[in-house]
């Protein structure tokens, strides 16, 4: 028996159909995206048979995580053009809930819930980026230099997060770059050849007309330098300078998701590079839980200082051009998180409101207890909680007159609360 078939989770929370009935202001398709992100997706063989590696976006390994695995799709389109940034979950026996199923019904690729026996939405696979088949002049396959979502190109200049250097100090929910966590592993080497590869890959990607709306960079945190993160800033600047050679304008839509840089570091990035927006992730909007869940960030920067740096960023980039990423729902992780979902929501939204008044927007990722994370065995909150969180954060943004750009439904696609900005 698997964990999810034993625990009776379905009888303990409102199912999707009842949630959309109870909250008529949530678009059903957005609620479905949230629920799929929360529970995951299992591909049937019929769905896998539909995958054409020459046509669809499959990755031979997960670019952002780095574990070797078979080539498989990394995301799906819904019919409103939004995306689900998840691939197949082959083994879900230890997950608290069983996943949605991607199946073929009446010739259509659809999301279903096998136990309920209901087809929810038709979906399509993402298309393969044209540059994936190319190599740089150094012979590097371009698919190892950059990844993509349907409308963004992603470069990860650093594949090691150095918060993991001190045992137990990595963020507990995080599976990103989890292939590079040992102290001796420095991640991928970024020499002069690599920067040349970045320029050539970016140039090649831009040949695909109508594909990309955003240039995205993210990486693990680098703590070294005269001031903490100085070396991380240097690496981003150097990487951006390489990519900038492929553009004719000084500024273009750049989404940087990075550590909480000081005002001096941010000013330098803004002045010296094409960067237009900045996201730094406080992850959990509660100082005590931040200390427990993100111990490295807490010890080396601190909750209040991280927040302060977001406010400094607003002075440089402008209101609405600075986003705070959060792992929505992780505030309920046990044993230290909120046991009551209503209390958790009230606390999170009160803090979001304060930050929104300072011009910070939010990018809410649905917390999924991922393999590779310390929280792999946690129980994530109910769908109802996630829906209320997305609606609440959308209201914070509206109330404070904030836009959302590079973390929106199109240039990112992984945040239910920013999907809602499509109709603001």
């Amino acid at each position: 028996m698997s964990r999810n078939s034993e625990n009776g989770w379905r009888s303990k929370e409102l199912p999707y159909d009842q949630v959309i009935e109870k909250y008529p202001e949530i678009p059903p398709i957005v609620a479905l995206k949230i629920d799929v992100s929360r529970r995951g997706i299992h591909y049937t063989q019929a769905a896998l048979d539909r995958v054409d590696p020459d046509k669809h976006h499959v990755e031979p390994y997960n670019y952002m995580i780095g574990h070797g695995k078979n080539a498989a799709p990394i995301g799906l389109f819904l019919r409103d053009g939004s995306v689900i940034c998840q691939g197949d979950t082959p083994d879900y026996s230890k997950a608290y809930r069983d996943p949605y199923t991607l199946d073929v019904v009446d010739g259509r690729l659809v999301l279903t819930d096998e136990e309920i026996g209901k087809v929810y939405e038709e979906v399509t696979f993402w298309d393969r980026p044209d540059f994936y088949d190319k190599k740089t002049s150094n012979g590097t396959p371009m698919c190892l230099v950059a990844s993509a979502r349907p409308q963004r190109i992603t470069i990860a200049p650093q594949t090691k997060c150095h918060f993991w250097d001190t045992p137990g100090e990595g963020c507990k929910y995080c599976a990103l770059f989890s292939a590079h966590r040992s102290k001796d592993d420095e991640g991928e080497i970024r020499d002069e050849k690599w920067f040349q590869d970045v320029e050539e890959t970016t140039r090649e990607a831009l040949k695909e007309k109508g594909r990309y709306c955003s240039f995205h960079m993210t990486a693990g945190s680098t703590l070294s330098g005269a001031e903490i993160f100085d070396d991380e800033v240097d690496l981003y600047i150097k990487t951006l300078h390489a990519a900038e050679k492929a553009f004719k304008t000084e500024k273009f839509p750049v989404k940087l998701v990075a550590s909480a840089f000081s005002k001096k570091q941010l000013q330098r990035m803004y002045d010296e590079t094409a960067i237009t927006t900045y996201t730094t992730d406080l992850e959990v909007l509660n100082p005590e839980l931040f200390k427990w869940i993100c111990p490295g960030k807490s010890r080396l920067v601190g909750y209040e200082e991280w927040k302060h740096r977001l406010y400094d960023a607003v002075e440089i980039f402008g209101r609405g051009n600075v986003d705070c990423g959060i792992v929505g729902g992780v505030e309920t992780a046990q044993p230290n998180g909120f046991a009551d979902e209503d209390e958790a929501l009230a606390a999170v939204l009160a803090e979001a409101e304060e930050m929104g008044r300072h011009g910070v927007s939010f990018a809410d990722c649905v917390w999924n207890a991922l393999p590779g994370s310390m929280f792999v065995n946690q129980k994530t909150p109910s769908l109802e909680y996630y829906v209320k969180l997305a609606l609440g954060l959308a209201e914070v943004r509206r109330k404070n007159g904030l836009k959302i750009y590079t973390d929106d439904y199109r240039r990112c696609g992984n945040h239910p609360n920013t999907d809602l900005a499509r109709i603001d």
């Binding site: 398709i29 957005v30 389109f77 409103d80 053009g81 349907p150 007309k209 109508g210 109709i423 603001d424």
Partner: protein, 157 residues
């Protein structure tokens, strides 16, 4: 969802670049919005296809709102010879990325070289009626014969 089929005459009217096409939609707060949209055509399945060229436009927001909640939008077509057709429908699909979208992106640039296609919407039809005055006048006389000023009915002295 709609499954109304339209005649070839109306398809030709919609696809005629000389026709004026106006799209009416409602925002999430209930505000009406009516604007010309020259990029409305009929696709191979007989549904309305419309290119939204401005990502931040109110129409783009409203049509997404209609798609999300199964609401109707309305379109009026006025042909060069002054025939008018009202079409209502529900947006069922929005393409904002992918190879199919990219074909439309290039097509949009052929039509308007500086354009930057935001979305391609597919709208299933729920209602179609001709709104040309002579046609509506005849319908009114047939359906509501009592709606008439009496002087029109006055006899000879």
């Amino acid at each position: 969802m709609g499954n109304v089929k339209i005649s070839q005459e109306i398809i030709d009217a919609i696809n005629d670049p000389g026709s004026i096409k106006v799209l009416a939609s409602i925002s999430r707060t209930g505000e009406l919005h009516v604007v010309p949209k020259g990029t409305i055509t009929v696709n191979e399945e007989g549904n309305i296809r419309y290119y939204e060229l401005l990502e931040g436009s109110q129409t783009n927001k409203n049509v997404t709102f209609a798609l999300w909640f199964g609401r109707k939008i309305a379109i009026n077509i006025i042909t060069p010879d002054r025939r008018s057709y009202q079409i209502k429908g529900i947006p069922v699909k929005s393409l904002v990325a992918g190879k199919e979208y990219q074909k439309h992106y290039e097509r949009a640039m052929e039509l308007i070289p500086d354009s930057d296609l935001a979305a391609v919407y597919e709208i299933e039809l729920t209602d179609v009626r001709e709104e040309s005055y002579p046609v509506r006048f005849a319908e009114e006389a047939r359906d509501n014969p009592l709606y008439i000023h009496l002087d029109k009915l006055a006899g000879q002295a």
